[in-house]
């Protein structure tokens, strides 16, 4: 079966982000960008499905500016077969991304679409669920284990109370949680090979999708800073402060 994986280019998780002085957003010039960590997990899962003989082809999709091609190359180096890049310099909100993905699904006809549970820049946690809704497909979000059959998949999900297992009818959308797998590093030969794999480029208009944002960002600010406190010298002093100064125990 064919598997589609969505990969978003985001500010690297190690970067300490800075809010722009004019409050219009976050500084992204000269900042290290990477594949969204949850999407690395998605690519890894797809590659394992292919290695296990369950998937036949892996198509990676990324949406955004020209540099998304680098993100796609990373996915190709990890083992995806080809890439699709929806080029857009405008902001793409989850609903727009889901609509674009729906149009790509219509062309590609995958049996499984894997997305990250959340992008670590907008922290929306929406796109996979929206895509499943628009397609009328089943969804298994926050997956920590996927057992793929031919007509159904059994997915273990990380929920607030612990773990939950659901059986979902294929075709389906799955979103990844952190413990689904540990993504591999691409080897040098695979990075070289990835350069020759095809990437298709298209515009949102080619897919007939209106991507006009529905949410206007009025301002972006830094959260109130916590003041660092004091160091205590001993456990006894700590307990005393908690009882008599902070009065929280």
């Amino acid at each position: 079966m064919k598997v589609l994986v969505a990969v978003k280019r985001v500010v690297d998780f190690n970067v300490k982000i800075r809010v722009k002085a004019d409050k219009t957003g976050v500084e992204t010039a000269n900042v290290k960008m990477s594949m969204n960590p949850f999407d690395e997990i998605g690519v890894e899962e797809a590659v394992r499905l292919k290695e296990g003989g369950k998937a036949t082809e892996i198509v990676a999709v990324s949406m955004g500016p020209q540099q998304c091609q680098e993100t796609l190359r990373t996915a190709l180096a990890m083992g995806a077969d080809r890439g699709i890049h929806v080029l857009s310099d405008a902001e793409l909100q989850p609903l727009a991304v889901a609509k674009l993905l729906k149009a790509i699904v219509a062309k590609e006809q995958p049996q499984l679409v894997i997305l990250g549970k959340q992008a670590i820049d907008d922290d929306s946690n929406q796109t996979g669920q929206m895509l499943a809704a628009l397609l009328g497909w089943s969804q298994a979000t926050f997956a920590s284990k996927i057992a793929l059959g031919s007509a159904e998949a059994e997915v273990t999900r990380e929920v607030d109370g612990g773990l939950e297992t659901v059986a979902i009818k294929l075709p389906a959308v799955v979103t990844t949680d952190l413990r689904l797998n540990e993504p591999r590093y691409a080897s040098l030969p695979n990075i070289m090979k990835a350069k020759k794999k095809p990437i298709d480029q298209m515009a949102p208009s080619d897919l007939g999708v209106d991507v006009t944002p529905r949410l206007a960002t009025l301002k972006v600010e830094e959260p109130p800073k916590r003041k660092g406190g004091v160091k205590v010298g001993s456990v006894a002093e700590l307990v005393d402060k908690l009882r008599n100064e902070a009065k929280v125990i």
């Binding site: 982000i17 929206m130 949410l215 009025l218 916590r226």
Partner: protein
């Protein structure tokens, strides 16, 4: 316009986080209705009628809702949503799973993890693990949103007297099935509801050592949490994880033990009222947010803490 709150429950009891969603809903203007969809959920519906500030409780009691499957709940919520200006749920795994599916079918852009309501169409939400706060204005007709429980007080219970109304159930979507669950036994308060939390990190070294934290927790009536590193290493179950991609907590007191203070962890706990850090590395970033820092080896400090709590017990 009125507001529809989607209740989270397990057919036996209402999840406390729903009460925070009701408070957020009451700040949006208009009557607040609560939807209780489940199977054999009469007791939950009764409890919902007693939440202060709730005008109406809609009850859909039917087999497709026995488990909170998004595929089955979505058509119900979408059908009801047309009559409301806002549809609200808490940003728990339940709300996060369901609400975007609802929003997409209503063709609206959901607003996730709302922390403050500036106007009925303008909200503050965290981005980049809470390292920035965005104020966003929605142009959609119906606002579908999840709210961060720790940012809103829980609505009072017991005093309300909402009207109860049965609503027609939708059919099973036939897309998904509940197979089973492995829920953590909760002898201690739930993380998101606890007044005190003590969390352990990678430095706990194994699950056995977490027992030391539990002994301290028992003396404080605290819940036990963990960093991602401790969960990944298998010391404790996934539902202990605090952080950007785990639970967001804001207790009166948060004690971080052997946790370095990565931004993804801070994202989940930096709104706690008082933070204590116990770490043997005095340079650990966790100390930059801690009100009280103790530079110490946890294998010594935690037993000492337990003994000191006993010794000074009022």
């Amino acid at each position: 316009m009125s507001v529809l709150v989607i209740a989270e429950h397990d057919n036996a009891a209402l999840k406390p986080a729903t009460l925070n969603a009701v408070t957020a809903a009451s700040k949006l203007g208009g009557d607040v209705a609560v939807l209780v969809a489940g199977q054999g959920c009469g007791a939950v519906a009764d409890a919902a009628t007693k939440i202060a500030g709730v005008a109406k409780v809609l009850v859909a009691d039917a087999a497709p809702y026995a488990h909170p499957l998004a595929e089955n709940l979505t058509p119900l919520v979408v059908g009801l949503a047309q009559g409301y200006g806002h549809v609200v749920a808490t940003a728990t795994t339940f709300g996060k799973n369901l609400m975007p599916r609802v929003a997409a079918l209503l063709d609206v852009q959901q607003i996730s993890e709302v922390m403050a309501i500036e106007a009925p169409d303008t909200f503050v939400r965290p981005i980049y693990a809470g390292n920035a706060l965005a104020t966003v204005k929605s142009s959609d007709k119906i606002k579908v949103m999840t709210v961060r429980a720790t940012a809103f007080e829980a609505a009072a219970t017991g005093s309300g007297s909402a009207a109860r109304e049965d609503v027609a159930a939708t059919a099973d979507a036939g897309l998904s099935r509940f197979v089973g669950q492995a829920l953590s036994k909760m002898e201690r308060p739930e993380l998101t509801a606890a007044r005190i939390i003590i969390s352990g990190g990678r430095a706990m070294q194994n699950g056995e050592n977490f027992k030391m934290l539990e002994e301290v927790a028992d003396r404080l009536g605290a819940a036990v949490g963990a960093s991602r590193a401790a969960v990944d290493a298998g010391y404790v179950p996934n539902d202990y994880q605090v952080g950007q991609t785990g639970k967001i907590v804001a207790p009166e007191l948060y004690i971080a033990v052997g946790i370095s203070g990565a931004i993804q962890h801070l994202a989940g706990m930096k709104d706690s009222k008082v933070i204590v850090a116990i770490n043997k590395d005095e340079e650990a970033p966790i100390f930059t947010v801690a009100d009280y820092g103790l530079v110490a080896d946890l294998s010594k400090a935690i037993p000492e803490l337990k003994a000191e709590l006993d010794r000074t017990k009022p």
